[in-house]
């Protein structure tokens, strides 16, 4: 293999391996966060036998959101995110992080227009699209129900 071939090989493989690493890290981090979520859910159903499946699901979300917010406040979550990429963004803890992180950053611009307004810079689009989609789905199901 001469120098040219080698340079070609490096060019072909190096960005891919780096990409592969980010995907693997996202897989492991995302998987681990979901395992923690499953453990929280199992613990809650053992502790609160009176709660039904839906309530346990909602409560699990609340606990995970609390953990995500707390770790962001302590400055830990963004450090995890540096390595984990999408693995820390996509779980519900990442949604909490997307609220707390800009809220802390813009706190110095005032509580109302800094903290309270900027905390929705990422969560805002998520809530708008999610709530709109749910209303649309609800209306479609309602119309389908009329013909049943």
């Amino acid at each position: 293999m001469d120098k040219k071939e080698y340079a070609e090989l490096v060019k072909q493989t190096s960005p891919k391996t780096k990409e592969g690493r980010t995907i693997l890290l996202a897989f492991v981090a995302g998987g681990l966060i979901c395992v923690i979520g499953q453990a929280v859910s199992d613990a809650l159903s053992a502790l609160l036998p009176a709660f039904d499946k839906k309530d346990i699901g909602a409560l699990t979300g609340v606990v995970m959101i609390f953990l995500g917010s707390l770790l962001t406040g302590l400055g830990v979550y963004d450090k995890i995110g540096y390595y984990a990429g999408a693995g820390s963004v996509i779980p519900i803890t990442g949604f909490a992080n997307s609220i707390v992180s800009p809220a802390i950053e813009y706190n110095k611009e005032g509580i109302v227009f800094g903290l309270m307004a900027k905390m929705f810079s990422i969560a805002g689009p998520v809530i708008v699209s999610g709530v709109s989609a749910s209303a649309l789905i609800g209306v479609v199901y309602f119309i389908i129900g009329l013909f049943k």
Binding site: F27, G30, G37, A58, I65, F66, P91, G130, I137, G145
Partner: protein
């Protein structure tokens, strides 16, 4: 052994969802807001067409802890509400995620109030 297998499935499905997200980020340079919106809508759509419950049966928290689970709850609430008329069809989604949203907003507000802004360490 059973519980180990359950957790292994949770890990695999959750990891796979996040790996797909990372591939999207790598290929399209999507920002995290766009990734979150995409996966939220994917979860809502999967619930609307009735496929979500099969993935949830297999992967449990692996699909409900990612933001897809938030979208699923929104859609499921709306579908449930649609049985009680048009009004509940519109409000059911937000009602179903009231706990999560309230938690995210209040925890976010309180924790941001008491945390100091740190210089980015990257």
């Amino acid at each position: 052994m059973d519980i180990f297998l359950t957790y292994l499935k949770v890990f695999a499905v959750g990891g796979l969802v996040c790996a797909i997200g990372q591939i999207l980020i790598n290929k399209t340079k999507m920002t995290s807001a766009r990734v979150l919106v995409t996966f939220l809508l994917a979860g809502a759509l999967l619930e609307a067409v009735g496929l979500f419950k099969y993935i949830e049966e297999f992967g449990k928290a692996g699909i409900t802890i990612p933001i897809t689970g938030f979208g699923k709850s929104l859609a499921a609430g709306a579908i449930d509400g649609a049985k009680d008329g048009l009004f509940k069809a519109c409000t059911g989604g937000l009602a179903a995620v009231a706990a999560g949203l309230t938690a995210a907003i209040t925890f976010g507000f309180v924790i941001a109030l008491i945390s100091k802004s740190k210089p980015k360490s990257t």
